[in-house]
């Protein structure tokens, strides 16, 4: 009971400043748009965006579902492929030397260039969107996880070996658990970009999704609806970030107790 209250108090302390600032900005926005009488096709007032939201609340969930599943599947794929690739790169130094520069170069190819190509190659269905999200999410996960695997405590590995651990046991018992925090750090970054990746891929061509919703609204000069989509995308990004955060908590219950953790703040 008091623990729940404590958590609530802490949440209020952590998130209240951001929420207050957001409310203040929206109020200023409303006042400025009204005072200067800005045309709604340039910058709509928050109240007008709210009205637009009520208009589209029937069609929006379908688009939201499409984008969410593309982002989720793409993120899951990048997590699986990223972790597997990191294991290979950490395992073989020559392979790491060969592949790492290519990975870095691949990161510098802009997504807006890749997305149309992927759509041309794989059609207009869900696959190209998932692939774009995967391509975006892959890099941070590989880099962070490889680093985590390579930084595992050497003495801990020696200790395991002294008790007869083989390569596989060292991997499972020491290396993988040591790399879990780094993996989640990478996943957190990828999750922040996953929704954006899906939307950009939909931009190129789609039959459903928030990206398509934005394109359609733009062609109809409904800037208010574009803003609705932007707000929904922001909310979705925050939700995916929070989901990964929660998953990390569940996967690493011990992190809660390491020095400087939440436990000591209470």
């Amino acid at each position: 009971m008091s623990r729940a209250l404590l958590l609530l108090r802490r949440a209020a302390r952590d998130y209240a400043p951001a929420a207050l600032l957001l409310v203040a900005l929206v109020v200023v926005w409303e006042v400025v748009v009204r005072a200067l009488d800005v045309a709604p096709y340039l910058v709509p007032a928050p109240s007008r965006i709210a009205r637009a939201f009520m208009e589209v609340r029937g069609t929006l969930p379908g688009h939201l579902r499409t984008t969410t599943s593309e982002a989720a599947v793409g993120l899951a794929l990048s997590a699986i492929l990223g972790a597997a690739c990191a294991a290979l790169l950490a395992w073989s130094t020559p392979l790491r030397r060969a592949v790492y520069p290519l990975l870095v170069i691949s990161q510098n190819v802009p997504l807006v260039v890749i997305a149309p190509l992927v759509v041309v190659w794989f059609g207009f269905g869900m696959l190209p969107k998932v692939l774009v999200v995967t391509l975006m999410g892959f890099f941070p996960i590989v880099v962070a996880t490889t680093d985590g695997l390579l930084r595992a405590d050497r003495e801990l590995i020696e200790l395991a070996r002294s008790y007869g651990a083989g390569r596989w046991q060292v991997l499972r018992g020491v290396l993988v658990p040591s790399a879990v925090p780094s993996f989640f750090a990478g996943l957190q970054i990828s999750a922040a970009y996953a929704v954006l990746g899906a939307v950009i891929a939909e931009w190129v061509g789609a039959s459903s999704g928030l990206g398509l919703f934005i394109t359609r609204s733009q062609t109809a000069f409904r800037v208010d609806r574009v803003f609705v989509a932007v707000a929904v995308i922001a909310a979705l990004s925050i939700a995916s970030f929070a989901a990964v955060h929660l998953a990390a908590r569940l996967a690493m219950p011990w992190q809660h107790f390491v020095r400087g953790g939440v436990q000591e703040e209470v």
């Binding site: 003495e155 801990l156 020696e158 200790l159 002294s162 651990a165 018992g173 011990w254 953790g261």
Partner: protein, 251 residues
């Protein structure tokens, strides 16, 4: 590291070990040392003299440059406690035993039975980060004890603890060993710790490490505060101090 002659748990002969590098570091230079089964041997020497290196050679983690380091099956406890932050107390206790091939259920059963003796009762589901320094060290010792090995190699197991906790732990370790007999080779740079625990003390010189003295300690057990202030203890302490100072200091 297999066929040991009868009557020896550890046998080190002419062991030299040089770490490659620029400049190469001669850590050990012709070390001889024999430990009998059931004996409590202590390796006493200043830091940097190669004590950890000797244990690591016995655990098979570094290869001697010359000579041999033979031991029957050993359980190695490194200088840092090296607990796994992602395993609870019970999981850490069974870590070494599991790797050594003890079935997990059996390892857990044995660990539970010993938790109380190691002062960890009620903490089996705690994370290492929640334990005090003394508890962490006892957990690392429990992990070492649970490995199915005859000989324990303990590298400064109480080195990180404050003086009061350290004395407590020394008394406690004597009690545990009285119940669960093992061969022990313990490393320390603390003379009183050596005399409290040892049947035999080997004194090492500063780097490169050599054995400069071997002292048998026949003080009655358990050795408590009374022992510590006895004339025999004081005499042995004076002897070890001189041995540690070495011949060069007298010039």
């Amino acid at each position: 590291m297999s066929s040991m002659p009868d009557g020896r748990a550890i046998e080190v002969r002419g062991l030299s070990l040089t770490y490659a590098g620029r400049p190469p570091v001669v850590a050990l230079d012709g070390v001889d040392l024999v430990v009998a089964p059931g004996e409590f041997a202590v390796l006493l020497g200043p830091s940097g003299c190669g004590k950890s290196t000797l244990l690591r050679a016995l655990a098979g983690l570094v290869r001697p440059t010359a000579g041999e380091a033979l031991a029957s099956s050993v359980a190695y406890m490194p200088q840092r406690d090296l607990l796994l932050p992602w395993r609870r107390v019970l999981g850490n206790a069974t870590f070494a035993a599991e790797l050594a091939g003890v079935p997990p259920a059996e390892a857990r059963g044995r660990a539970r039975a010993l938790l109380g003796r190691f002062g960890l009762e009620g903490f089996e589901r705690a994370w290492p980060a929640q334990l005090s320094g003394g508890m962490r060290q006892r957990l690392a010792l429990l992990r070492t004890f649970l490995a199915p090995r005859d000989t324990l190699l303990l590298d400064e197991p109480f080195g990180a603890l404050d003086a009061i906790t350290r004395r407590e732990m020394q008394g406690w370790l004597q009690g545990v060993l009285a119940e669960e007999s093992r061969t022990v080779l313990l490393v320390t740079h603390d003379i009183e710790e050596a005399l409290t625990l040892a049947d035999t003390v080997y004194v090492m010189s500063p780097r490169p490490g050599r054995i400069v003295d071997r002292v048998e300690v026949s003080l009655t057990r358990p050795r408590d505060a009374t022992t510590l202030t006895s004339p025999e203890f004081t005499a042995l302490k004076a002897h070890l101090l001189r041995a540690l100072e070495g011949p060069t200091r007298n010039r």
